[in-house]
């Protein structure tokens, strides 16, 4: 087992993205949190490094048309994409989780295109993302899956795609969509055959400006405020059938989507670890320079043991996300471990930031205090990409074979 091996490539990713997080993300994080604005300039810079438009893990290579396994030349040969993904995700979220998601948000849409799209669709996707928009911003993509009445239970999608000649006509409302208001291209999930249940759910590539595609209201959120979240409406939106993903493949409809979500969970867990580590390091610095009742803070068990507890939790969470990623890289079924890593990472991020706030006291009540911001950012990791309850359901089902209610 080599998950603890000091792989030079992983070390390089950590060093490069860690430096990027400290030098470029941290200085602007509070501003974009306060303004609830996307860091477009930074995103352009990140694009130059190959971090946007595609998933940090596999999207960029996949979108070139080369399959991951094909690139390695042997489907059985271990890859390293997932481990690079978790190492990079931790570093970016260490800088700012909202900016991390702004940088990587397009990858949510790129992933199904790379997995299920044919060459024509990949070219169309790339074309729609090429260049800058009228504001000079890089173009971003959005994956439109969740709906107002469909959060955890994605099998209840109500958006429909009705066949009409060479087109599908999409109707429905999407909610909590990353990049939903600004995207140049959307991958929207809709049911093409309500009688087919989950198997009828398909993804469609829809360009901005397509009649009937209406970007909706941007949400004001508790945290990750540098990442845009918005509603998207589809009102008789006609999309050519060639833009339906999974054609000619043995697609399992919604199940493909769920597999895709499974694959991102280690990275999401790693982002939570990044937030926890940020709060931990901030607190260590404060404790090292501080006194309580005339003695160094670090000499007090009340403080020092709290930090020791945080360190235990962070190390455990990091080990879990790396194990889940290592299993993915070795082509092993990691569904249970990915859920464990995601759920535990979310728990640790919330615990560590909450404890840090209590120890910091009144100084950390101010809006924009880094730990106060990280506390707000941490909460989403127990909600999106499958809530903590959904992760426990997956884990329990893998143990007992049934869905507990």
């Amino acid at each position: 087992m080599d998950i603890f091996h000091d792989n030079p490539m992983l070390t390089g990713v950590r060093q490069m993205l860690g430096a990027f997080a400290k030098q470029s993300i941290r200085p602007i994080a509070v501003k974009h949190d306060r303004d609830e604005s996307m860091p477009w300039d930074l995103m352009k810079m990140a694009q130059g490094f190959g971090m946007t438009q595609t998933a940090v893990v596999d999207g960029r290579k996949a979108l070139t048309g080369k399959d991951e396994d094909g690139e390695s030349g042997n489907a059985k040969k271990p890859a390293s994409q997932a481990r690079i993904g978790v190492a990079g995700s931790e570093e970016l979220a260490y800088g700012c989780a909202g900016i991390c998601l702004a940088i990587g948000g397009s990858g949510l849409a790129a992933s199904p295109v790379s997995r299920m799209g044919n060459e024509e669709q990949k070219q169309e996707f790339r074309k729609l993302l090429k260049g800058d928009d009228e504001k000079g911003h890089i173009k971003v993509a959005a994956m439109a899956l969740s709906e107002p009445s469909t959060g955890s239970d994605i099998s209840g999608l109500s958006t429909t795609a009705r066949p009409d000649g060479d087109h599908f006509v999409i109707n429905g409302h999407k909610q909590w969509i990353t990049n939903g208001a600004s995207a140049a291209v959307y991958v929207v999930w809709a049911n093409t055959d309500p009688t087919a249940g989950r198997a009828g759910v398909r993804g469609f590539i829809v360009g901005r400006g397509t009649p009937g595609l209406v970007p909706g209201r941007k949400e004001t959120k508790l945290g990750i405020r540098a990442s845009e979240t918005a509603q998207v409406h589809f009102e008789d939106c006609r999309v050519h059938k060639d833009m339906m993903l999974g054609v000619g493949q043995s697609s399992e409809g919604l199940s493909d989507t769920k597999k895709m979500l499974d694959s991102t969970r280690p990275m999401v867990g790693a982002q939570a670890v990044g937030i926890a580590r940020a709060a931990f390091e901030y607190l260590v610095e404060r404790v090292q320079g501080g006194t309580m009742q005339g003695t160094p803070m670090a000499n007090h068990q009340r403080v020092a043991f709290e930090l020791a507890e945080m360190e235990m939790e962070i190390q455990a969470a990091r080990a879990l996300v790396h194990k889940a990623a290592w299993m993915a890289d070795h082509h092993m079924d990691n569904v249970r471990m990915a859920s464990i890593a995601k759920a535990y990472g979310a728990k640790v991020a919330q615990d560590v930031t909450s404890r840090a706030l209590t120890l910091l006291g009144e100084e950390a009540l101010e809006s924009g205090h880094p730990v106060e911001k990280w506390y707000r950012d941490a909460k989403i990791y127990d909600i999106f990409e499958g809530t903590g309850q959904i992760q426990r359901r997956i884990i329990a089902r893998s143990i007992f074979g049934v869905n507990p209610t």
Partner: protein, 371 residues
């Protein structure tokens, strides 16, 4: 032992509950967005007896006998259900008014009560970490450093300050006029007019020093007891509000073919929050009952110990309950269309104000051990 409320206590709780349900909850979201309480809060709150209930009648207030911390805790339970920020404004005058009434000089009483009777606010701060430089200046004090962030300090005319000069505790009333004041934007309690006060060798005359030495230690213990009881009660209200919203949502939201409130995991989240709130409610009321009966050192220590325990648990319970309320609402909980994300932000101050309560408890035990 009788756990039932008497008629007067019931009337207070019902009156404040009506005020909260009719007005405070309706104002809460706008006040949070604006970072300020609505101007109507002063008038409506004043009509209900807030702001002046701890000011003696002879000085233009409403207090004509012993102050009841039990009644205050009962109203705090309700205020917390409405808005923690507005609750902080409505309750901010109590500690300064009671302290000055008990230990203040004629000059201090006149200065503070005239301000409060004229519609002014006062607030309370504790230099828990000893970061202020407080030195003797004759019989007065000279203070350098920053107080805050503290609720209501952006507008308050006076700060009741608990601090130390070297090894000697002092309790003083500090006028804010002339000192540099900074409004502070906070994440929670945004309606509470938070502020900081920067003191640069600011002189506090002897007439404004309420107590020093052993007398100050006792006085500070009592002030903190009052404040912590009120915080625990208000925190319980915030936790209760979180679960009220979560329960309503969970009963209506259908996932996997049934209301999410019927899933065992969510029943447990709600039940744990309700259990915690029930425990803190009793602890806060018990601490308030003890605070109303302080007559000597042992009763003072018992009241503070009860208040401190209530405040520790309240901080944990309100944090957990509001985080879980957001969890139950899921994606809706994370956006500000629903009130629970505000409650989660509001919850934090209950554990962060006045210093680290758990560390205080360690110090209290050490003192008992003679260490």
């Amino acid at each position: 032992m009788d756990f039932a409320l008497d008629d007067e206590q019931t009337l207070i709780a019902q009156t404040v509950r009506r005020f909260v349900d009719k007005d405070v909850r309706a104002w809460a979201a706008d006040a949070d967005r604006a970072g300020a309480a609505p101007p109507r809060l002063s008038a409506v709150g004043g009509d209900l007896g807030f702001f002046l209930d701890a000011v003696p009648e002879a000085s233009g207030g409403l207090l004509d006998g012993p102050y009841s911390h039990l009644r205050r805790a009962l109203r705090g339970l309700e205020l917390g259900r409405g808005c923690a920020g507005m609750a902080a404004v409505l309750e901010t005058n109590v500690e300064p008014a009671l302290a000055v009434g008990r230990w203040g000089s004629a000059a201090a009483r006149e200065a503070l009560f005239a301000s409060l009777a004229g519609g002014g606010l006062a607030t309370t701060a504790r230099d828990a970490r000893g970061t202020l430089d407080v030195t003797r200046d004759g019989d007065g004090l000279r203070i350098t450093g920053k107080i805050g962030p503290v609720p209501a300090l952006a507008t308050a005319s006076h700060v009741l300050l608990a601090a130390r000069t070297g090894d000697e505790p002092v309790l003083a009333l500090v006028a804010t006029a002339g000192a540099r004041r900074e409004a502070v934007a906070t994440s929670g309690w945004r309606a509470a007019a938070w502020g900081s006060l920067v003191l640069e060798a600011t002189a506090v005359p002897a007439s404004m020093v309420l107590a020093r030495g052993a007398a100050a230690a006792d006085a500070i213990t009592e002030v903190l007891t009052w404040y912590k009881v009120s915080l625990a009660a208000r925190a319980t209200g915030v936790a209760t509000a979180g679960m009220e919203h979560a329960r309503k949502y969970a009963d209506e939201r259908i996932q996997f073919g049934k209301p999410i409130g019927t899933f065992e995991s969510l029943i447990r989240l709600r039940d744990d929050a309700d259990t915690g709130a029930a425990a803190v409610r009793l602890m806060a009321l018990h601490a308030a009952w003890l605070a109303d009966r302080v007559v000597d050192g042992p009763t003072r220590a018992a009241a503070h110990d009860a208040a401190s325990r209530a405040r520790v648990l309240a901080g944990d319970v309100v944090d957990r309950a509001t985080v879980d309320a957001v969890q139950i609402l899921g994606g809706y909980g994370f956006v500000n269309d629903y009130p629970v994300e505000k409650l989660m932000r509001d919850a934090r101050a209950f554990a962060q104000l006045l210093g680290d309560e758990r560390f205080d408890r360690i110090l209290a035990v050490r003192a008992q051990q003679g260490a």
